[in-house]
Symmetry: C2
Subunit: 151 residues, 2 copies
């Protein structure tokens, strides 16, 4: 059910991104707020962090951490194009989906990589499934904003 929700929100995001032109993605979703392109980069960077937390391997796009997580929108002009970010997004989802599908039920309840064995023994909810739950929430939050880019 948790994974269903993740995939459903990824699909909703895909549908939305595909309905928007690059020009529309470059607009702010509301006056003075983040641009669509920033939120797209932000989501890729946050999902890249999940790759590490879920023990799936290295980040695919570590260079996105600085401009899309550490820095706010418009702090630098040195970011990938909308077209490039779309490609990253699609490739990342393909790779993550393959990794997610290979995780067994029991493995979802094992610890994520940012919690120590000692802390995990006391707080067993800090597991890999919880990463999916909190990041689906994060995706939904920004999806509520990205939808404002639709004319």
């Amino acid at each position: 059910m948790v994974l269903d929700r993740w995939y459903a929100q990824l699909k909703n995001s895909d549908t939305l991104f595909n309905s928007l032109t690059d020009e529309q993605l470059k607009k702010e979703f509301a006056p003075g707020r983040n641009r669509g392109i920033y939120l797209l980069g932000h989501l890729i960077a946050v999902h890249d962090d999940m790759m590490v937390l879920l023990n799936f391997g290295d980040k695919l796009y570590p260079e996105l951490n600085e401009p899309f997580i550490k820095q706010p929108d418009k702090a630098t002009k040195n970011i990938p194009t909308a077209k490039e970010l779309r490609t990253y997004w699609t490739r990342q989802n393909e790779i993550m989906t393959a990794k997610i599908n290979a995780v067994t039920t029991d493995e979802w309840f094992t610890k994520h990589t940012a919690v120590s064995e000692g802390d995990f023994a006391k707080e067993p909810h800090r597991n890999r499934l919880n990463i999916m739950i909190t990041r689906t929430s994060h995706l939904s939050y920004h999806l509520g904003q990205l939808t404002l880019l639709k004319p």
Copy 2:
């Protein structure tokens, strides 16, 4: 973990609503979009539906279905005040929290009230826990919009 996420997003919503004046709540979160007061009423109406789906009893505020789910914002002037909606929100959360806390782990995996026994046998994910998962997603989505009301 699912319930933790629900409570965390309710708490985030509470913090946000408490930081906003009634005047701010009456504004659109972006030009031409829904007013904060509409989204507050919408959330109460959707959570009231959960009361029925989760077999917790009758809706607390059935009169909110028409103006906050069936109708779009500004379709009618006949809606409760911001002050009244804040009271409904708080009371609803208190009542729902008590009901949620009384549900056992096994009961979360029993069917919700909108699915038949026959369909549930084929689709066991249509259970009460899934209602929590999808509605947390819904709450997160609108929270991403409500946060734009902050000056």
